[in-house]
């Protein structure tokens, strides 16, 4: 055997040994990797009080609302992509603060002050700039079917902001504003033959209907009105017309005649299931379980969510965020999945989602404040809502008075 052959043989042996060692190492490391990032679900959400994660996320949001320059920078970055996010970031934050005020009475004055600041500024912008300020540009492309134009997206979320604040503590000015907003929504529901109201021209969203009905239900709790028939009729209509027969999931978007535009999408459904808890608990649980089965996923201990079920394929859009191939991960759906998992006490899924968030959400902690760099203000506000939700719904469902 020549020297070159011996050398080549030794080299091949070394490479083969190296590759084998890499394969064994990967087999050891990959299944264990999630342990580095996994934390118990209680680190994210607690039954009583506030979790460490919620406190740190809230500290960051409170800083944004006390530092106008910082807030402007954050909101401008989001508005480049989607003006809706500016608005939804406010909604999720107000709903979170309402839950936090009920969980942590000591800090209630601070939370109430911040809620009022957000609500007042949002109402001012809506009045000053018009409803299109918080909508995507295509809202102006066509006239709304129902005139005068209204967006249920804005009306429903503003109404729920006002109602949430009043559940924590009554504010007479907001009582008038809430009643006006709720009466206007109810009047349009009665005017619509299909009970389907637009968020964009001839474009209706299940998400927005559920949030608006949550606001109406909360107003009933606060003011002793009764819209239970309206809510019952809408749920019955949704079960009949808005459910995708193949997956049993609620579709996301439809025309004013109920024709589907976008099928069941994760970035809506997790929140829809949570919203339904206030309206029809059984239907809500059924939707969550189906969404969990169709869209929830876990690989090597890391949880995530798809945007579309296998039975309805769609494209990535502004709501889904970029979809990561191979695993079909949607950032939008995975973020909102926290709300579903938290609302339905799915601690195993919540914990695996948190492992993913801690690994590729790129957390950044400074001075007791937490933000996720891979997220944005609306994403972090939705996470804060997932970490704090519970007491607000519980009060309305049980009828416990403030």
């Amino acid at each position: 055997m020549s020297y070159a052959t011996v050398l080549m043989s030794a080299r091949m042996n070394r490479i083969f040994a190296g590759l084998a060692a890499l394969a064994v190492a990967a087999l050891i490391w990959l299944p264990c990797m999630h342990f580095i990032f996994a934390k118990p679900a209680s680190n994210f959400r607690q039954e009583q009080g506030l979790s460490p994660e919620a406190r740190q996320l809230a500290a960051r949001h409170l800083q944004l609302w006390t530092d106008p320059a910082l807030r402007e920078a954050e909101l401008n970055k989001m508005r480049v992509s989607n003006a809706e996010w500016d608005f939804m970031g406010r909604s999720y934050l107000v709903w979170s603060l309402a839950n936090m005020a009920l969980r942590d009475p000591v800090s209630r004055p601070l939370y109430l002050r911040t809620m009022d600041q957000i609500i007042d500024e949002t109402l001012r912008l809506e009045k000053q700039e018009g409803m299109y300020f918080f909508l995507m540009p295509y809202a102006k492309a066509e006239p709304y079917v129902m005139q005068p134009p209204h967006s249920l997206f804005l009306d429903g979320e503003i109404a729920l902001m006002l109602a949430s604040r009043r559940v924590v503590e009554e504010k007479p000015e907001y009582k008038i504003l809430l009643t006006e907003r709720v009466n206007a929504i109810v009047a349009r529901f009665q005017k619509s033959p299909q009970m389907l109201l637009e968020s964009y021209p001839d474009e209706c969203w299940t998400f927005d209907h559920c949030v608006a009905l949550d606001a109406i239900k909360t107003a009933d709790y606060l003011d002793g009105t009764d819209h239970s028939k309206l809510i019952h009729d809408w749920i019955a209509m949704a079960k009949e017309k808005l459910v995708d027969p193949r997956s049993g999931l609620l579709i996301s978007t439809f025309t004013t005649h109920g024709a589907p535009l976008i099928g069941p999408e994760g970035s809506s459904l997790w929140m829809v299931a949570h919203s339904l808890q206030l309206l029809d608990e059984d239907f809500a649980r059924d939707q969550y379980q189906r969404t969990r089965k169709e869209l929830g996923a876990e690989t090597l201990g890391f949880g995530y969510a798809h945007e579309w079920p296998a039975t309805w394929r769609g494209e990535a859009d502004i709501d889904s965020g970029p979809i990561i191939p191979l695993f079909d991960v949607s950032a939008g759906s995975s973020g909102i999945a926290f709300i579903g998992a938290s609302a339905f006490g799915d601690d195993k899924f919540l914990s695996s989602l948190a492992a993913t968030l801690n690994s590729v959400g790129f957390p950044s902690r400074t001075g007791g404040r937490l933000k996720y760099c891979a997220s944005n203000q609306v994403g972090d506000a939705a996470l804060l809502y997932a970490a704090t939700l519970g007491p607000l719904w519980e009060k309305v469902i049980t009828g416990t008075k403030p």
Binding site: R11, R14, I15, A17, G18, L19, A21, L22, V24, A25, A26, I28, W29, L30, M33, I36, A73, N76, K77, M78, V80, S81, N82, W85, I318, G321, P322, A331, G332, G335, S359, V360, F362, S364, C373, A374, S375, N376, G379
Partner: protein
């Protein structure tokens, strides 16, 4: 000129491909690069993962490039580096095992006429005529 012993800086010398030393060198290089981009604040640009621009000043294109660079190095740091270090450890343990006289003898068995204890001590510690190192 003051010279350093060669062995002291052997970790910086080019190692044979896929040897334990090569894997450690690669792990160190990835960790070093990741540390640099992390300290440079590239983490802030990862908001592109949800479709939000990383910086209005830098614009979409540059923000995206910085984000992709950071994400790739981060994934390499949390996935590839531990695998490289574990593989290096496995290789080193394996190499020690195969150099161990016990395993060496198992791979190259002694002729059958040798006594069993000779498998471990093929040459007595002291033979007649040797100097005794302890006594010396």
């Amino acid at each position: 000129m003051k010279t350093f012993p060669e062995k002291k800086f052997s970790i910086f010398q080019r190692a044979e491909f896929l040897s334990a030393k090569d894997m450690i060198q690669r792990a160190v290089a990835i960790s070093g690069l990741f540390l640099v981009v992390h300290l440079a604040g590239f983490r802030e640009y990862t908001s592109i993962l949800n479709g939000t621009i990383g910086s209005l000043t830098l614009g979409w294109d540059l923000s995206t490039i910085l984000a992709v660079f950071y994400i790739a190095l981060y994934l390499a740091f949390v996935i590839v580096v531990p695998v490289l270090l574990l593989a290096a450890a496995i290789l080193m343990i394996w190499q020690r095992l195969i150099k161990n006289p016990f395993y060496e003898s198992r791979r190259n068995p002694a002729p059958p006429h040798q006594a069993p204890d000779q498998l471990f001590h093929t040459r007595p510690l002291f033979e007649r005529g040797d100097s005794n190192p302890v006594a010396d």
